[in-house]
Amino acid sequence: MSIALETTGLGKRYGRQWALGDCTLSLPVGRVAALVGPNGAGKTTLLHLIAGLAQPDAGHVRVFDQALVNNTEVLARVGFVAQDSPLYLDFTVADLLTMGARLNRRWDTDLARARLARVDIPLDKPTGKLSGGQRAQVALALAMAKRPDLLLLDEPVASLDPLARREFLQALMGSVAEDGTTVLLSSHIVGDLERACDYLIVLHTARVQVLGGVDELLASHKILVGLRRETADVAGTAGVAAVVKQSHAGKQTTLLVRTDGPIHDPAWTVEDVSLEDFVLAYLANSDAGTLPGPSRRGAST
């Protein structure tokens, strides 16, 4: 499996504060990865470092096994939509398409036009007169027209209403599936990503907390519901590798656990976990982490 994107010990500091620290991850080609985390966790910083818009203070980034700095070859293969989809507000949509055609060697105007036609965006309108959602669509169309091998999207759905959000992600998935584009998109809205993404990166307070394929991660985590008891007892239960989150309500205890085998203890009802619950559980417990291979924190609580 070839690697689209790889970061090693990547870090970025603003003043004395590390916005991102010791970030090591790799993203296989063809994956659609969700980058989630609370505000200020370092999502935007990570995306900027990958896009080459920011320079790391530690570690390095390789995209398609090449360094980024002033590298037009890599630049041509990466599409990027920044947060809030910045556009030249005095340009018409058609102007922006011309801009893309002039500034890129590889450029698919027809693709962009078709995408924009599908969402009813007129080409002769200045982008300053479009709604926030329409601007997000234009920015995405511009990034897609580069026919990128790696598409980086920073909060692409934040300005869209729930219906548009779903359509946007569906359209995105549809087109990237055809080309085999690798996608990394950040979001703090987790619910929408479940259907769209097959890879997950959770950032928490400038650190990578969770990394892996969505299916594998969800398969190795379960929710246990049973009579109220102390967590210490659970650690011994066969199949439970770590307790990520516990909550007690009345006589009942609910646990989200990482498993290392089937759980047959009759004291527990075992349920599958949704992506949203999974992410929220990890975000609530910053000491927990699950990373492939030997990791800094270890794979247990």
């Binding site: 818009l53 630049l75 947060q83 910045p86 030249y88 005095d90 500034l103 590889r106």
Partner: protein, 316 residues
Amino acid sequence: MIWMTWRQHRAQALYFLVALAVLAAVLVPLGLSMFRALTDLGLSNCHGTLPVGDPCDVARNTFAERFALPHQLSILLAFVPLLVGLFAGAPLVARELEHGTHRLVWMQGVTRRRWLLVKVGLVLAGAAAFAAALSALVYWWWTPYERVGTSRFGELEFDLQGLVPVGYTIFAVALGVAAGALVPKVLPAMAVTVAGFIGARVAVMVARPHFQPAEEARFPLFAESHPGRFVDMWQLSTRVYSADGQDLGSGLITCPPAAEAELDRGCAGYQPGDYNLTRFHPASDYWTFQLIETGIFLAAAALLIVFAFRRLRRFT
């Protein structure tokens, strides 16, 4: 990138063309009427420095008084380079960084370096062309003033014509670009541009008299005839000295020959042998001074552009 630069700056280019047209619509008719006045007042055959009271000198004063207002207003032209720097230079980088559009354009297939090179290069070329056209227009318009003895070489007149307005304009635009790379917001970048431009202009203005050693002319207070108003040259100072070199104060004092001087109260207290000393730069140094001053501002502009490139290369 050329298309991109044109698309981003075409409205601005239009505004500057309109401004140039308006200035031409004022200066060309005014200049033509001044040339006519030269002929009407019989000034066509008056040349050089003339004795006080000469008919030519009287006609020159008439002309200077009639066209004093446009002369005074012309000082406003000294601000044109700053305006170009404010509106073409300061937003060039600052607006992109303020609105985040650098994250759009830097992710297209061109490097930041090339992006900045083409944008700055074309805008500088346009600004320089604008400044050169305006400067040539002002130079032509100034010719009648020069004929009547208002030198182009004067402290303020020097700044409005010749090569220096082009140097100032290129400097102002470069300063705006560098200010935008330093403070990534349009208004603060404009403020930095204003402060930097005025500071640099004042500093160089103070240094200007020392570009070349000044020449000196002495002439006695008591004489049959006195030289009239100096023309063409740049007069730095005129002071009165005693025969043994003591400074008796500033100003130009002319007295009739010593025998008759007792009647003239302004001449009381001065001795035969006292003399006026004028320090000046001759008219022949005009283009040397223009070249030196333009060179200073072009060199500063080059440094500012290098600074902007280095700063943006690291901008994150």
